[in-house]
Amino acid sequence: MRISSVQQGLIAEYEFAKFLMVGSGGKIELAKPVSDDEARDYEIHIRGKYGMGFACQVKSAMSLHKMSKNVRSINIFFDIAVERLVNSPFYWYFVAYLDPKSMGLADPTFLIPSEDFHRLAAPIQRGGMWRFSMAASMEAKSRDRWHTYRVGTLELGERVLEISRDLSKLHPGARLPAGLLAIPDVLVVRA
């Protein structure tokens, strides 16, 4: 008997949250939306910081595919209604293999900005739906299109802190109103 897809989804989310919380030394906080109708599994922010955060959708597989004799890949397929597709720097996908033997996520995992994911995961539009298929090599030496998004499970916390810092520069609150710079004698000092 294998676990249900609901159990699998929940466990993959737990694993992701665990690696973020512990791997960041407790700096990362995760929140689950009360209603799940925006395809966000978690809202992620740095503890004590308000107004800056990003959303993440967790996708998992419990088996790997053999692409060739020595190459195993993780394959993820899903459909999403056209009007619900979100392309935002503040919306990311986390993709991982949940190994039934070790009962945990296996390395590598993948953290992918939504815009990159939607472009690279062989998008096909059919009717009112987008279909995405991701096939990423799990082999250490692979240089496939997904290799730049690889993250080791123990590095996930640090990587998400780095993403949060980068995103905070993009955040509307971090940009100065254009008119401010036009005022003579205004000095802008940043920390």
Binding site: M1, L10, I11, S102, G104
Partner: protein
């Protein structure tokens, strides 16, 4: 939520609440996956009874066990070669539950590997309350669970050791045994009924 005991060392900077959530989720994962999805866990909406989870077999009603998760994020060295899992906690005397269906799960969560380390411990509440050096202080019972993590150890907690990958099967077994216990208790009440006649088919 904080399921950890006190004085666990400073190995991790995560908060007590985070530690509680992470270790409860880790336990739930191991039980779900290790039972092949047969075990379902439910978290009480109000945490007033010291139950972290109600655990039952999928599709089966009326037989469940309750569990309290306790964890430490550092081990204690009690001699040159012996590392111990040490969990210290207090319970208000009025809230102490000794019931065959109430169990403790205790484990060391290793912050370096970000998962539990073997062995973990699954202990009936009555056994833990009796053997974890109970001390009464005011209206509180204080307990110190101290178990060797060494593979060859034969300390008092050895019978309750479970490898994390075997947790799902062990929990299933405990629930099955609790079900039999309840059935035999129910049957024993029959003996108190007046004018009851036992009938058996003749053995050849």
């Amino acid at each position: 939520m904080g399921n950890q005991g006190r004085s666990q060392g400073g190995a991790s900077k995560i908060s007590d609440v985070q530690q509680g959530v992470v270790t409860q989720n880790e336990f739930a994962k191991l039980v779900m996956m290790g039972s092949g999805g047969r075990i379902e866990l439910a978290a009480p909406l109000t945490d007033e009874e010291r139950r972290d989870f109600e655990v039952h077999v999928h599709g089966r009603y009326g037989s469940a066990m309750a569990l309290q998760v306790k964890s430490a994020m550092a081990l204690t060295r009690l001699s040159a070669n012996a590392l111990y899992l040490r969990v210290h906690f207090g319970v208000r005397a009025s809230r102490l539950v000794n019931d065959p269906a109430f169990w403790y799960f205790l484990a060391y969560f290793n912050p370096a590997t970000i998962r539990f380390e073997d062995p973990t411990f699954l202990v009936p509440s009555a056994v833990l309350h009796e053997h974890a050096t109970p001390t009464k202080k005011g209206d509180q019972w204080l307990f110190t669970f101290q178990a060797s993590m060494e593979p060859g150890s034969h300390d008092q907690w050895e019978p309750y050791r479970v490898s994390q990958l075997a947790l799902g099967k062990k929990v299933t077994q405990v629930i099955d045994e609790l079900r039999k216990l309840r059935a035999s208790l129910d049957a024993s009440q029959l003996l108190e009924m007046p004018e009851l006649i036992w009938a058996r088919t003749a053995q050849p």
